[in-house]
């Protein structure tokens, strides 16, 4: 036992070095990110994992046909689009994989761990209420000095009896690795303050399905993270083309408008919301804006910069602008923002070319812990 893992560690370390670019440059071009999927209620979440896929003969695009199972009439759209044919059902028999659910708090923790995100430090004079410094928890890993003898013994005893190895004449109990339990210190600060997230999205004609999907995925993860950091959180969704309006979550993700783009309209609406509903001394404020970088005119961009500099930045924790690459967008807006406000560390701008860029962009937004 254990030998498996030890031997595997070398193969795994080699793979990691390839992913990091330390070894085998020739394989870099085949590196891609696949994903592990999990479900949270109706939402599907994905955990990116790197993958090196060497080229081989395989079928191309015109094979998008398959056999499925379930209700529905001819012409009906199927639920979910991850349907796979029987042909891709995997190669090994008897390797059963069972899906289990993850809850949102765990997801946020994973996200934090994967992207190495710091916990957020709420601004202002409000104190964090912490309950740190007490060993109240139990976990399955830890240093020997914290081993909880009674719990460990109890588990070992249970296992021995359950497995039929208990002999009353020779009542020996030998704990093994899985039996061990350790005290753990609960140090998680419990922020008492509230936060509001503004998701502003450009829905003008140039934002296509793929661009919206990228925004959707990003917004989901950002919400998840911020929710884990604040007890009381509100989310305001704003869409804009040449005019801006507040919409509900459903509309935010599905609306398709067309027409021109006047970004200042969204910033004005956001500011109005802040002034009317979310006073900065009571709220931590996180405006996020996503667009493909095309604005109506340079004059409107100047107006946006002025709004940000004078009104929004002074009351927000951080302002994030995520520019999603589209076939039509010039990407000028990010350049303009960087030029005008790049020195201000309260503003973070990122450019996302494709889905692969999402984790990096989320990290850029949340890495400062503001």
């Amino acid at each position: 036992m254990g030998g498996q893992v030890y031997r595997m560690e070398r193969d795994r370390a080699r793979f990691r070095d390839i992913v990091r670019g330390r070894l085998r440059e020739d394989l870099r071009k085949y590196l891609s990110t696949s994903e592990l999927l999990g479900r949270q209620g109706k939402k599907t979440i994905s955990i990116p994992i790197p993958q090196v896929e060497l080229p081989r003969f395989r079928y191309g695009d015109n094979s998008g046909e398959g056999v499925g199972q379930g209700p529905g009439d001819e012409g009906d759209q199927m639920d979910g689009d991850g349907a796979e044919g029987a042909g891709s059902a995997g190669e090994q028999p008897g390797q059963h994989i069972l899906e289990v659910e993850v809850d949102l708090a765990e997801l946020a923790e994973m996200l934090g761990r994967e992207l190495a995100l710091p916990n957020i430090q709420p601004r202002g004079s409000r104190q964090l209420h912490t309950e740190g410094g007490r060993y109240t928890g139990i976990r399955s890993q830890g240093p020997d000095s914290l081993r909880h003898f009674r719990r460990t013994f109890r588990r070992a005893l249970k296992r021995t009896i359950a497995s039929g190895e208990w002999d009353p004449k020779d009542p020996r109990v030998v704990p093994m690795r899985d039996d061990q339990r350790f005290r753990s210190r609960r140090t998680h600060p419990k922020p008492e303050s509230s936060a509001v997230i503004f998701h502003m999205m450009d829905v003008s004609g140039s934002m296509g399905r793929e661009q919206k999907d990228i925004v959707r995925i990003k917004a989901f993860w950002i919400d998840t993270w911020l929710r884990s950091q604040y007890k009381n959180i509100e989310v305001v969704y704003i869409v804009h083309d040449a005019v801006a309006k507040v919409v509900d979550q459903e509309a935010f993700f599905h609306l398709r408008e067309s027409g021109g783009t006047k970004i200042s309209s969204a910033y004005e609406l956001c500011l109005k919301q802040i002034q009317e509903h979310y006073r900065p001394d009571n709220w931590n404020i996180y405006p996020f804006h996503y667009s493909d970088g095309d604005n109506w005119s340079a004059r409107d961009t100047a107006r946006c910069v002025a709004l940000l500099r004078e009104e929004i930045l002074p009351c927000a924790n951080q302002f994030c602008y995520g520019q999603v690459k589209s076939a039509y967008g010039s990407g000028q807006f990010k350049k303009d923002l960087d030029h005008a406000l790049g020195h201000d560390d309260q503003i973070v701008t990122t450019a996302i070319d494709s889905r692969e860029g999402i984790p990096e962009s989320i990290r850029a937004f949340l890495a400062e812990g503001r």
């Binding site: 498996q4 085998r24 998008g64 199927m78 689009d81 349907a83 899985d178």
Partner: protein
């Protein structure tokens, strides 16, 4: 195998009971050896394809990382693993409940019976646990002699070609007991003795320098072509160094070992699920375990909207065949997934299982139900499963251009290749062959010839492809 722990007394007892119950219903298998593993170790063994010892490769590390992350994040966990070998090895995961262990044991008995009796498994190497260990030792010794990087690079090249085999070859060969496979092994054999004589097996083995080869490639004869066993052709005729030939033949042997599992995935899982369900509900379960079992069984055979689950499809096929009065034991013996589905699927089956054909709508990017006609469903299923789900690539000429170039043909059957990857794969092939390689295929009905010398790739339009690829398009045109 000294990898896993021995079973505690109660599970040993349970294994005996399960085995007796399985034999009583007519299942027959080699000895089944259960071993107990911790969850972390199970992921490692699974990443190694179920085997305790494999050659060193980053690919196993990659698979392990995926499995381990899925496990860490609570997204997936492996229930059981079973290896086609004599004796049949199966792993139990320590953290499973007693009910789950019972289910796994009964399921394993089904697989073990299938391994022993299904005709496609007949020609497989039954001492693969030792073989894999032996392969690993060979490749490690090459790495010691020629450097890990060099050997790993060539191993990657060889593994990139492991799809270029003929899934039906082993069965055909074993039927004809023909000499061809023996010749292929014999070149690898010669290479091996040569390596050992030259390098020795002790400290001597680090001696560098060139060496004479006694295992020269043979010239292709007309009897070798055409062939789908391109890997076998390369083993026999390529101008590679001996150690490279041996790596190719190791990769080929392992690829052929796994082929039957690909050809019978649905049947094999269906058979195992059919019997675990039968055995557990006919006496193996305690009354208190029935609900948990039902829950667990339903999870394994669950159908996500619009997807096919091989466990579910397989078990339903056997149940349907049973209801029709077929002899299940005979079916499991003579069929693979394609012929089995062809034999069993009828209108009633398609209807009661709510099967349909879907198609991706290019506008919305979503899949849509397009057909519920059982004939169309069956045709689609068979198309997807034929040739183990991969494109059929045949080598037809070994000196097509007068420059010793290989000529390959993609048997089109209505589905285009991914051309960029095909080009990259051809480049790999050209490097191994040491000469140009050409592939004839169709792209949206237009004949193409992709050529490469291992460096540059060129694509030209050619009418010849229309004839030899034998695609639907050309059939319709005539």
């Amino acid at each position: 195998m000294a990898t896993g722990g021995h079973l505690p007394a109660n599970l040993r007892q349970q294994a005996r009971i399960t085995e007796a119950a399985a034999r009583a219903v007519g299942l027959d298998f080699f000895d089944v050896v259960f071993e107990m593993l911790d969850a972390a170790d199970v992921n490692a063994v699974a990443a190694y394809g179920g085997f305790p010892v494999r050659y060193p490769s980053w690919r196993f590390g990659m698979d392990y990382e995926r499995l381990q992350k899925g496990y860490d994040y609570g997204l997936s966990k492996i229930y059981e693993l079973v290896i086609n070998n004599d004796p049949t090895y199966a792993y139990l995961v320590r953290s499973n409940s007693l009910m789950e262990q019972k289910l796994v044991m009964a399921h394993v008995m089904g697989h073990a019976d299938f391994f022993k009796h299904n005709v496609w498994f007949g020609p497989t190497q039954r001492s693969m646990v030792e073989q894999m260990g032996h392969h690993a030792a060979r490749i490690r010794s090459f790495a010691d002699a020629y450097g890990q990087d060099t050997v790993e690079r060539f191993l990657d090249v060889a593994l990139g070609l492991d799809g270029l085999i003929d899934p039906y070859l082993p069965l055909r060969e074993s039927r004809r007991a023909e000499s061809r496979r023996e010749t292929i092994q014999s070149r690898a054999e010669r290479a091996r003795t040569d390596f050992e004589q030259h390098w020795g097996d002790g400290a001597e083995s680090l001696r560098p320098g060139p060496r004479p080869s006694r295992s020269a490639p043979t010239t292709p004869s007309s009897g070798d072509l055409p062939t789908f066993d391109i890997l076998g052709f390369l083993v026999e005729h390529s101008r590679l160094a001996d150690w490279q030939v041996e790596i190719l033949s190791i990769v080929r042997a392992e690829a052929y070992y796994f082929v039957p599992q690909r050809l019978t995935k649905i049947m094999n899982e269906g058979w195992a699920s059919y019997w675990h369900s039968h055995l557990l509900t006919h006496g193996l379960l305690d009354a208190s375990e029935i609900v948990d079992f039902a829950d667990c069984h339903a999870g394994a055979t669950a159908v996500a909207p619009g997807q096919l689950n091989p466990y579910k499809l397989g078990i339903e096929l056997f149940r349907h065949a049973h209801a029709r009065g077929d002899d299940l034991f005979q079916l499991r013996q003579v069929h693979n997934d394609v012929s089995f589905i062809d034999h069993v699927v009828d209108e009633q089956f398609a209807e009661s299982n709510q099967l349909f054909v879907y198609q991706r709508n290019s506008r919305t990017g979503k899949n849509m139900v397009v057909d519920r006609d059982w004939v169309a469903i069956k045709e689609q299923l068979l198309r997807e499963l034929s040739w183990g789900g991969s494109p059929r690539i045949q080598l037809i000429e070994a000196d097509a251009d007068g420059e010793g170039g290989l000529l390959l043909v993609h048997k089109h059957e209505g589905r285009d290749l991914k051309l960029d990857e095909a080009g990259a794969q051809l480049k790999t092939l050209a490097q191994v062959w040491g000469g140009p390689v050409h592939l004839l295929t169709l792209e949206e009905g237009v004949g193409r010839r992709i050529s490469t010398d291992g460096q540059e790739i060129s694509v030209i339009e050619t009418a010849r492809a229309q004839d030899v690829c034998g695609g639907q398009e050309s059939a319709q045109a005539s």
